[in-house]
Symmetry: C2
Subunit: 120 residues, 2 copies
């Protein structure tokens, strides 16, 4: 029994997430304007009713990568004695979201064609 499964519920196999993480991040930032890392993990958990849990070891490197590419910018803010690093889309990030979303859409359609030939 894996540690992260202590709630005895079925979770999404993290391997499936490979390739979709950036899209998820960008979409959430597009929707909410700005978010900090921890907030993103919580939002994903909330939306998917716990099915998808972003690990920090995946999230933070991804955020840094996207920032490095000029897709995101950051701003540090102190909340009490805590520091939060807020991320938001740059202009090129805005374009990136559109592309990523349509790419993901195409991908899902194609996968459906293979996996659910009757429906699709």
């Amino acid at each position: 029994m894996p540690k992260n499964n202590r709630y005895f519920r079925i979770m999404i196999d993290p391997k499936l997430l490979r390739g979709s993480l950036d899209t998820i991040i960008l979409k959430l930032l597009d929707e909410h304007g700005e978010m900090y890392g921890y907030e993103i993990t919580q939002k994903v958990k909330e939306i998917t009713a716990g099915e998808i849990k972003l690990t920090e070891g995946a999230l933070y490197p991804a955020l840094h990568r996207l920032e490095g590419k000029g897709i995101l910018t950051t701003e540090m803010r102190s909340i009490g004695n805590r520091m939060r690093k807020y991320y938001r889309l740059t202009e090129s990030g805005q374009e990136e979201v559109v592309q990523k979303l349509s790419a993901m859409d195409e991908f899902i359609k194609s996968i459906q064609l293979i996996l659910n030939p009757k429906i699709a």
Copy 2:
């Protein structure tokens, strides 16, 4: 312009495929009973109207991996002077397909919740 894009059409970003390749292979084998490698690449291309193209460098290692796990068995057959290696699901492979398919289904639902909050 990447080599594999010489037909000047939009293709699925191969990165999205990460994590889904095994499921695709297993589903096709489940549906067709037995298939050989090249046949799988063609079938995927056909079903998805060219959107998804499995590279051989991805497919063959994946097939060998699945065989190594006991999920697939193989049988060589000579067609004329050509050799074909046919793959089919083992019993444990049959169970694996069911699990993989429902996992993929859950995953797509969850992704939809994030990316298309209005629809889902």
